[in-house]
């Protein structure tokens, strides 16, 4: 019993931190509809800032508490600045570009922390007066955690008061349920957005500063916290601050008791299993509200500028010829770079079918890329198939997984769809990470090299080129087929599409399967190029990377995915070569590209082209 109660208190203390971070993210999403990847970065920044302030302030024991108050304010200010200077410029762009921008902010803040505080693990100071512990039922319990257990509910009450008893809070709630209405009320929407962003960032910063005496300060705090935060917010329902509280308590307590009762193999995946279960049973989270139907895709589309660019055949022939000749002109390394770009072009191209043509935002597309890679490796290593056979069958493994997971995902829409794809990807990640006997666990599978006749870089390059050309033309063919047009119709207006006899769900499921297939093909190309496969191939950073590529090229531009893949990879390689601060440079370039080309590179070219045609009559 004592164990039970202490474990419960422990879980609840952890939950309070999750609640603070998650309620901020949820509020920001509710009002601005931005999925803010940078939220975890503000949390990390506040923790570092607070630890430095606590050391630097000349207030004696009070320095700690002054730092806990000041650091979140500083971070909130920075959040406001970023909102005003960057996000505000692109509220009118398709919403996904805001995701790309917040991702760029993640990179820049990450490197700023590295620059100012170094990469070594640090510990923040202990809280004067609260650093000891008190006995509870015969077990020592940290005083600080008790204080957090008191502070958490107080903050929740404060938040409730702000949201329900102040005019500003009521506006926030109104904006969460209906954005247009607030515009009609004559509220200055821009400042409402900024205000909410500042409040949300402050909450994240407060959590970070309060964590300082408990955890190690590391440069990966941001990504660690953001994933868990997404889970909490989604379980509770995006946009609901009290959903965040509920989600945080559920996750905190589940984790605390999972330690006692769950087998090791499940611990990596448990929160994602819970998230998937919640989304399957309650597609909008526990306290969330259904999204308005045409909300996500339709909005962006009306603002879509360009027409469709179909370059004449000779352009394609020229590009193909260049790709055929290039490897004999380039040093071997760049042949491998091209192979990698081709693999990512397939990966991003398949995601583009989902996100662009289908309007289905996926945060977990790496699952199918990775399962293609694992499929290839396992078919070769475990089933002892010849490499070319394994290569050809691998996409089927990915497609099968996509159809299975997709069957649950297509019942959802918008951000919840994205979160369920993320949950499944994380579950798939956990499986390959933990199933040591079959997948090699985190050490991956080595020795996945091409057959001897294909091993020479140039030869493998031609195989990759063949796969990419066939795959991308197949994807484009599908986009231009009745299936593709119907998929777009379903994206533009699902209800209308249903009312012309289309089963939208099964249509989307088929698209999910097709996308999974070609992502898997990209994964197979990648696996044999690297000679090994690892769980990282299925990880969230990989999913985000593919999304960045698609967005960089332009989600509604067919040629966008390969162009985005090439530009991203080349930038990455060039920058990493010249500076240790590759994140900041890449982030800076992404910010520039998003602000300068809010419809992606190819989207930009298309718009220019369309305007040129228009002016010529």
């Amino acid at each position: 019993m004592a164990l039970f109660i202490v474990q419960l208190l422990t879980g609840l203390a952890n939950a309070m931190f999750l609640f603070l971070v998650a309620s901020g993210l949820s509020l920001i999403f509710g009002v601005t509809r931005i999925v803010n990847f940078a939220h975890g970065s503000f949390y990390m920044l506040a923790a570092y800032l607070a630890s430095s302030l606590a050391a630097a302030l000349p207030l004696g024991p009070a320095s700690f508490y002054a730092a806990v108050v000041l650091a979140p304010l500083g971070v909130a200010l920075l959040g406001g600045l970023i909102e005003v200077c960057l996000l505000r410029r692109i509220y009118r762009a398709p919403e996904l570009y805001q995701v790309l921008l917040t991702f760029a902010v993640v990179l820049v803040i990450g490197d700023a922390v590295k620059f100012f505080w170094g990469t070594e693990n640090r510990t923040g100071p202990s809280p004067p007066g609260l650093s000891g512990s008190v006995p509870i039922l015969g077990q020592l319990f940290p005083t600080y955690d008790l204080a957090i257990l008191l502070l958490g509910p107080l903050l929740a009450l404060g938040l409730w008061w702000v949201l329900h008893r102040t005019r500003w809070g009521i506006l926030i709630r109104a904006a969460t349920s209906d954005r247009e209405m607030v515009g009609a009320l004559g509220v200055n929407q821009a400042w409402l957005f900024t205000g909410v962003f500042v409040l949300g960032t402050w909450l994240a910063g407060l959590a970070g500063a309060l964590q300082m005496p408990r955890v190690a300060l590391t440069t990966v705090m941001d990504s660690t916290v953001i994933v868990e935060t997404f889970v909490v917010v989604v379980i509770g329902g995006m946009g609901s601050a009290f959903g965040a509280l509920l989600g945080a308590v559920l996750i905190g307590v589940l984790q605390a008791f999972g330690i006692l009762w769950l087998p090791r193999e499940f611990q990596l995946a448990i929160i994602f299993i819970l998230m998937a279960a919640v989304l399957i049973l309650r597609p909008w989270g526990l306290l969330g509200r259904p999204e308005t139907e045409s909300g996500t895709a339709g909005e962006a589309l009306r603002r879509e500028v360009g027409g469709r660019l179909r370059p004449p055949r000779w352009v394609w022939a020229g590009i193909l010829l260049a790709l055929m000749v290039l490897p004999s002109l380039l040093p071997t390394f760049y042949v491998w770079v091209l192979v990698e770009i081709l693999a990512f072009a397939l990966f991003a191209g398949s995601l583009q079918l989902l996100v662009g043509t289908g309007g289905m935002l996926s945060f977990g597309h790496a699952a199918y890329f990775g399962l293609g890679a694992y499929g290839a490796a396992l078919l070769m290593k475990q089933a002892a198939l010849p490499m070319p056979v394994a290569f050809l069958l691998a996409p089927l493994v990915a497609a099968a997984a996509a159809l299975f997971f997709g069957a649950f995902c297509v019942r959802l829409s918008g951000v919840y769809f994205a979160m369920l794809t993320l949950a499944f990807a994380q579950i798939a990640f956990a499986v390959v990470h933990q199933w040591y006997d079959f997948t090699g666990g985190d050490n991956g599978i080595l020795g996945v090299w091409p057959a001897a006749s294909l091993a020479a870089p140039v030869r493998y390059y031609y195989l990759a080129l063949l796969a990419a050309v066939c795959g991308l033309s197949a994807l484009w063919r599908v986009t231009g087929s009745p299936f593709g047009y119907t998929l777009r119709a379903a994206r533009d207006h699902p209800r209308r599409c249903q009312a012309v006899g289309v089963n939208v769900r099964s249509h989307r499921l088929l698209a999910f399967g097709v996308a999974g297939f070609f992502a898997g093909l990209g994964g197979a190309v990648f696996a044999f190029a690297k000679g090994s496969v690892f769980p990282d191939y299925l990880s969230m950073p990989m999913s985000v990377q593919s999304l960045v590529m698609v967005l960089l090229g332009g989600i509604h531009a067919l040629a966008g995915a390969p162009v985005g893949a090439a530009v991203y990879k080349l930038l990455d390689i060039v920058i990493t070569k010249y500076t240790g601060y590759w994140q900041a440079v890449l982030g800076g370039i992404l910010v520039f590209l998003v602000v300068a080309f809010p419809h992606g590179l190819v989207g930009f070219v298309q718009a220019r082209w369309a305007r040129m045609r228009a002016s010529l009559g």
Binding site: L301, P482, Y485, H507
Partner: protein, 250 residues
Amino acid sequence: MVEGPLLEVRDVWKAFGGVQAVAGVSLRLPRGEVRALIGPNGAGKTTLLNLLTGQLACDGGVVLFKGDRISGLPPERIWRRGISRTFQITATFASLTVLENVQVAILSHQGRSRDLLSRTGRLAREAALDFLKRVGLQDQAEKMCATLSFGDLKRLELAIALANEPELLVLDEPTAGMAPQERLDLMALAVQIVRDRAVTVLFTEHDMDVVFAAAERIMVMHQGRVIAEGTPQSVREDPQVQAIYLGGLC
């Protein structure tokens, strides 16, 4: 042998939270009739239409089409049985051209929506142009749908709704938001098209001029119930209807 009604609704109910939007509606719609469904805002007209075409599920009651039960079927299956509809808030595919909007619907009717390999360009093009011609949009075929005027969007939606050669056409405020003369023109066009092919029509409408010009019979809903049904003349004279419309009907 006497043919039964094309559409028969028996005691259909629907509530949202505590609000009874449709409270025990029954109706019989014979083949070939053009019927208007009128009533004040919030009377449950749109909800009733959504129940008929499957966008909403009934809490109770049955909808029969040509004698077969269709309540409980999803919208796409109901459409395949031969009931097509338009929406109160214009619903078209914004990123497609006018022609492609109709093509998508025709290809669906032909069962080719899942064709992954053909090029859409020429498929069903003539048929689609034919529908566009009927609604007078043939000159706009290549325009992006998002650039159409409001009235043209309404016409386009009509063309889309005709793509499966429906036996019953359900129109939810087909002229909402249009200029008065435009309204009469559009409704006249719709009536002419359906008369040519003996399509049965059920439509809601706020503009009484349009209603009286187009409808053969009129049904009046109030607070979720049908309170009157009959010829335009009889409905116009119904005291209960007059009371609801505060005498503003004529």
